[in-house]
């Protein structure tokens, strides 16, 4: 019923959005092709099965966190605690699994569960206490990283061989890490058709209008953070699979990196616009750019500067490519 009443304006808004997404995604797609091409020219062995597997294995944590961030940003929020959630869920999973293959399943559940719980806390603080997402998640990041230190005071612990093995393996010549990225992308294609995700997008586009159209704004905000937290929890597991041990300090750069990936991926920080597929592309572009800088043999001390400049250039390109929105 709500849908019928709101249809005319929704259609025009929808058209507006599709245009917005298309322009921005051209810039993103262009950057992605460019980055892949340069990387392959510089490092031909990138295309071997081993190259793809190890490249994606290192990309996966940032990719997953970028998707998590994308969902929150589309919902009109921001999650600076994403890195801390990754850290907390990974150290909890390490402690739960105790390096035993038999407990790997339990570790998976624990990582996702912890992420979900952290996300729910963020969602409650933002939607019920109505705090600014930026400040609220900065504060909650402090809480989560404190708890991570409690669970695992110093880096260590062993990750079950099953997990690290699977992570590096290929299933029918396709590396597991690639399959996981594809699975996340497919998951999004299903998710975006759900009512929850429509509500999240409407809330991010214009909370007041969404509220007036009977969208449960508070629950949608809560859902976006909870969903995002669960995916960050999964990223925590990817970190473990990649590193082979736990580290309570990991994730410091992941939150801001994920925000950069989201923007390069053509998702407007104002909310309502974009898709996590763009965030996946953004994460791959950013990760590839550091691979490229490594490959051209830039002195170590210059690499961080160059990486920063690349990020700004990419941001400038995607900002120029995106249409201006109503003020």
């Amino acid at each position: 019923m709500t849908d019928v009443a709101a249809r005319p304006s929704q259609t025009s808004v929808l058209l507006d959005r599709m245009r917005g997404v298309r322009v921005a995604s051209w810039a993103t797609a262009g950057l992605l092709v460019l980055a892949v091409a340069i990387a392959i020219v510089l490092q031909p062995n990138l295309l071997t099965p081993y190259g793809i597997a190890s490249t994606f294995a290192t990309f996966l944590p940032l990719t997953l966190v970028a998707v998590a961030q994308a969902i929150v940003v589309i919902g009109g929020g921001l999650d600076l605690s994403a890195g801390a959630i990754v850290a907390l869920s990974s150290v909890v999973a390490v402690q739960v699994m105790q390096g035993q293959d038999g407990l790997a399943g339990l570790g998976l559940v624990a990582a996702i569960g912890v992420g979900l719980a952290c996300g729910a806390v963020n969602g409650l603080v933002v939607s019920r206490l109505r705090l600014q997402p930026l400040i609220a998640t900065f504060a909650s990041a402090s809480i989560f990283s404190g708890l991570a230190l409690l669970v695992l005071p110093t880096p260590g612990g062993t990750v079950p061989a099953l997990l690290t093995g699977t992570f590096r393996q290929a299933i029918a010549t396709v590396p597991t890490s690639v399959l996981l990225v594809v699975a996340v992308a497919l998951g999004w294609l299903v998710l975006r058709r759900t009512r929850v995700m429509r509500h999240i997008r409407a809330t991010g586009g214009d909370p007041a209008a969404a509220y007036a159209s009977l969208v449960p704004v508070q629950s949608s905000q809560l859902a976006s953070y909870a969903l995002s937290g669960a995916i960050s929890g999964l990223a925590g597991l990817a970190v473990l699979g990649n590193a082979g041990s736990g580290d309570p300090f990991i994730g410091g750069d992941l939150a801001l990196g994920s925000v950069a990936a989201v923007v390069v991926g053509g998702i407007a920080l104002r909310g309502g616009i974009g898709s996590p597929i763009g965030a996946i592309a953004g994460a791959i572009i950013l990760s590839l750019s550091s691979t490229i800088l490594f490959a051209i043999g830039l002195p170590t001390s210059w690499r961080a500067l160059a990486a920063g400049v690349v990020v700004i250039l990419a941001l400038a390109l995607s900002a120029l490519g995106a249409p201006r929105r109503r003020r």
Binding site: L129, R130, A139, S140, V259, L305
Partner: protein, 318 residues
């Protein structure tokens, strides 16, 4: 609402009361915490954050989602450039400070131009700048920061030369008063509040929106560098990540002080009190000898509680 209630609801008053309360609680739990010497020490540490928060306040007031995520690294870079140049000599103090401020101004200019001309959102532009400046620090230092603070700078921060107080507190006070006057009494201040309230209305009234916006980011970097230089006076030596962690506290100080993140409402007095609240809280938790994890957790919980008192967004229903 009676006058008394209104005053009690003023974020600046609330924050000040919380700061006093924290000091009193600290004094009760650990004798000596509330002693004048300790309080002066806490204020001295608060001054670094407070000076950096001057720029952050100006940027947040300018609206348009204004925020500067690069202040922490800019402060570190300023500290590194200044201390390398002065290299422990008073004669080179002024050149060192000028060099640091000059580079900081260029960084702020780049931030402002990226935001105004390329239309990159401030959050993102300054986030990118965070990476660039971090890289710049590695290039300048080659990964190893050297350089020492000039004795004059050290005694300004660590001495008790002005009426028994460290000179840096006087510097902070003067800066705070000047900034408050600039915000309240000058054309620039009026234009800043105007663009913070509504870019469009300000533009139509003839306010040079772009120029004011760029100035805000230049000022932010300048005050960040000043804060970093003050920190070197305190630590006497420079580290690669000296002030990096002050970025988010600087934003928290602004918000605790009651400045609206949307822009156009607030002032520096609140941010100064916010910086004091955050510093007292940190030093209280340190004094109580809590394990590090508990300290970090309590910090987050208190920040959320503080903000829940008045840093809340408008209710949709209203």
């Amino acid at each position: 609402m009676t006058r008394a209630v209104r005053i009690l609801r003023d974020p600046v008053v609330v924050a000040a009361l919380i700061a006093v309360l924290l000091v009193v609680v600290g004094g009760l739990l650990r004798p000596g915490f509330a002693s004048p010497g300790q309080v002066v020490d806490m204020l001295r540490v608060a001054s670094f954050l407070g000076i950096i928060a001057i720029g952050q306040t100006i940027v947040v007031l300018s609206g348009g989602e204004g925020i500067d995520l690069s202040v922490g690294t800019v402060a570190t870079l300023g500290a590194i450039l200044a201390s390398r140049t002065m290299a422990g000599s008073d004669a080179l103090l002024v050149p060192g400070v000028l060099l640091a401020l000059g580079v900081a101004a260029l960084i702020g200019l780049a931030n402002g131009l990226g935001i105004v001309l390329l239309r990159i959102p401030p959050f993102v532009m300054t986030l990118g700048m965070l990476g660039v400046v971090g890289g710049l620090i590695l290039v300048v230092t080659g990964g190893r920061a050297d350089g020492r603070a000039a004795p004059a700078l050290v005694s300004l921060v660590n001495g008790r030369d002005v009426l028994g107080l460290p000179g840096i507190l006087l510097v902070w006070l003067v800066l705070g008063i000047v900034v408050t006057l600039v915000l309240r009494r000058t054309v620039f201040g009026a234009q800043l509040y105007a663009i913070g309230t509504s870019r469009e209305a300000a533009r139509l009234s003839g306010v040079p929106v772009r120029r004011v916006t760029v100035s805000a980011y230049v000022l932010s970097s300048l005050f960040a560098a000043l804060g970093g230089i003050a920190m070197v006076g305190y630590s006497q030596q420079v580290f690669l990540n000296l002030a990096d962690d002050l970025t988010l506290p600087s934003i928290a100080a602004v918000v605790i002080g009651g400045t609206l993140v949307a822009g156009g409402v607030g002032g520096y007095l609140g941010s100064a009190v916010g910086a004091i609240v955050l510093t007292v809280l940190t030093s209280l938790l340190t004094t109580l000898a809590m394990p590090e994890w508990a300290r970090i957790v309590v910090q987050g919980v208190v920040l959320i509680a503080l903000l829940a008192v008045y840093g809340r967004q408008r209710r949709l229903r209203a």
